[in-house]
């Protein structure tokens, strides 16, 4: 594991020059220069929904944990079913504090001999420290900081990727495997953060440009910036750590029941289990909800949510949905106001916008599942 740079130094990622050559507007994000957009957020967003978009998510932390009983030890930190997870299968999971608050969300894949974790870029240093502190010393934790991570997302992603790497089409949602392209070793999962079918590809940093070039040479593929990544995941109803998830929310409040299966709720044995299990059993005090807004004015993170004159919650992500051509938002409201169909108001600069609680995703997921 490398020493962390001082916070004020903005680092570059393996594809920095590649993005700049293609006209990306670069901004600081999670301590790195990242492409916020190429042609424009709406065009990139709609391209991804119709074709395939290539996202550079190399700022995310890629970790390997290995050693005896690694699944049993990880279950002491994560509330998911990792013991029952088959080889080359992945799960969405959460790092929790002792109160059940969410420290980070992550993807965990069981591979032959280890677990591969992908954690958020802004939290990876804290996550690594947390894992070092709480995992037994006998386990080995490797930070794969010489690996880049690319995501290829959209309905044509499988066509484009299978043309280069035959066999990837056999993967289904939330499964993964080892592949290679002209001798470059790739770890590929069928997963993503847009609600579309797609893949996430771990590639050695020195081969990241080679892979990005090969992918964007496919007619289905265009590079996409972080701006569209955010609008796509919001439409997909997927929470963003640091905005929709933090230590003030727990898995029950955040509506992430699928990340805490029945066995774990019954047995506990993970941080904050008492609080979290009570919230699942009795209902949490507040819930993460989706909001559909009237009109065209978006409500942003931090906007207050009212039921008539009573403050009942706060927006944690909000924007204008390019697919639906209307403003949508995600937020937390007290449980009494969280039912689908509840009419609420959102304060934006003193205006009260009419909103209604709707189920998420806002735009249907199109994952390719087993047997589909």
């Amino acid at each position: 594991m490398s020493d962390e740079e001082p916070a004020e130094i903005i680092q570059t990622l393996p594809l920095d020059a590649w993005h700049r050559q293609r006209g990306a507007r670069m901004v600081e994000f999670a301590g790195y220069y990242m492409p916020i957009q190429y042609d424009g957020i709406v065009a990139e967003h709609l391209w991804t929904r119709a074709h395939a978009g290539l996202f550079d998510v190399s700022h995310m932390g890629q970790l390997l944990v290995s050693g005896d009983a690694v699944d049993i030890e990880l279950e002491k930190l994560l509330p998911g079913d990792l013991i029952g997870l088959g080889v080359d299968k992945m799960r969405y999971s959460l790092l929790l504090d002792e109160n059940g608050g969410i420290l980070d969300d992550l993807m965990a894949t069981r591979r032959t001999g280890d677990f591969y974790l992908v954690v958020n870029g802004a939290t990876k240093a804290d996550d690594i420290a947390h894992l070092h502190e709480y995992l037994p010393e006998e386990l080995t934790l490797n930070h794969l900081d010489e690996q880049a991570l690319l995501a290829l997302q959209g309905p044509e992603a499988v066509t484009a990727l299978a043309r280069l790497i035959p066999g990837v089409e056999a993967l289904v949602f939330m499964t993964a495997g080892a592949f290679d392209l002209d001798g470059v070793p790739l770890w590929i999962s069928r997963s993503g953060y847009t609600g579309e079918d797609g893949f996430e590809i771990s590639v050695p940093a020195e081969s990241a440009e080679f892979l990005a070039d090969r992918l964007t040479a496919q007619p289905e593929v265009k590079p996409i910036g972080l701006g569209a990544r955010d609008s796509l995941r919001l439409e997909a109803g997927l929470p963003l750590y640091g905005h929709d998830l933090d230590t003030r929310s727990d898995p029950a409040m955040a509506g992430l029941g699928f990340a805490v299966p029945k066995r774990r709720r019954a047995e506990g044995g993970f941080p904050g289990a008492v609080t979290i299990c009570r919230h699942f059993a009795e209902g949490p005090p507040a819930r993460r909800i989706g909001l559909s807004l009237s009109g065209r004015l978006p409500a942003r993170e931090g906007a207050q949510i009212y039921a008539d004159d009573v403050l009942v919650g706060i927006v944690t992500s909000g924007g204008f949905s390019p697919s639906l051509q209307q403003p949508i938002a995600m937020g937390y409201v007290s449980a009494a106001h969280a039912a689908t169909g509840t009419a609420l108001q959102i304060d934006v600069r003193g205006k009260r916008l009419e909103a209604v609680v709707v189920p998420m995703p806002f735009v249907p997921h199109r994952y390719v599942r087993k047997g589909a």
């Binding site: 424009g40 701006g227 065209r296 004015l297 390019p322 600069r349």
Partner: protein
């Protein structure tokens, strides 16, 4: 008709005692896809440097400040239906509002087209 520019990337087209205000092509490109423009009401009094309008792009909300002091006479009704006019025609059909100038002397500190072009080149 005389055209002025501010370092906040607004343009002001002045004819006699009235002015039309909008944002520049540079500004619209920096903001990205614009989905909503909140404009001042007709009759509102704006003071130079004060908040005049809010532009909502897909990504974020940005304030637009009044380049001069004056009273709003008209807000562009076309932007309500088609806020993307600010992207496609920022310096023509995508104008924001018209106002009556309170103090034409305030125009003196503003840039002309050549000066603004040189200013943008330094950014």
């Amino acid at each position: 008709m005389t055209l002025y520019f501010t370092d906040e990337h607004e343009w002001i087209s002045v004819e006699g005692g009235s002015a039309t205000v909008g944002i520049t092509d540079y500004a619209q490109a920096a903001l990205g896809d614009i989905v909503f423009v909140e404009l001042p009401a007709s009759g509102a009094t704006l003071s130079k440097g004060g908040e005049a309008a809010v532009v909502e792009s897909v990504k974020a909300a940005s304030d637009v400040y009044a380049p001069v002091t004056g009273t709003v006479t008209e807000a562009n009704p076309a932007l309500e239906e088609d806020p993307a006019l600010v992207n496609s025609a920022p310096e023509t059909d995508g104008w924001f509002f018209k106002l009556t100038l309170a103090d034409p002397a305030e125009l003196e500190g503003l840039m002309d087209a050549e000066e603004y072009k040189a200013f943008v080149a330094t950014l």
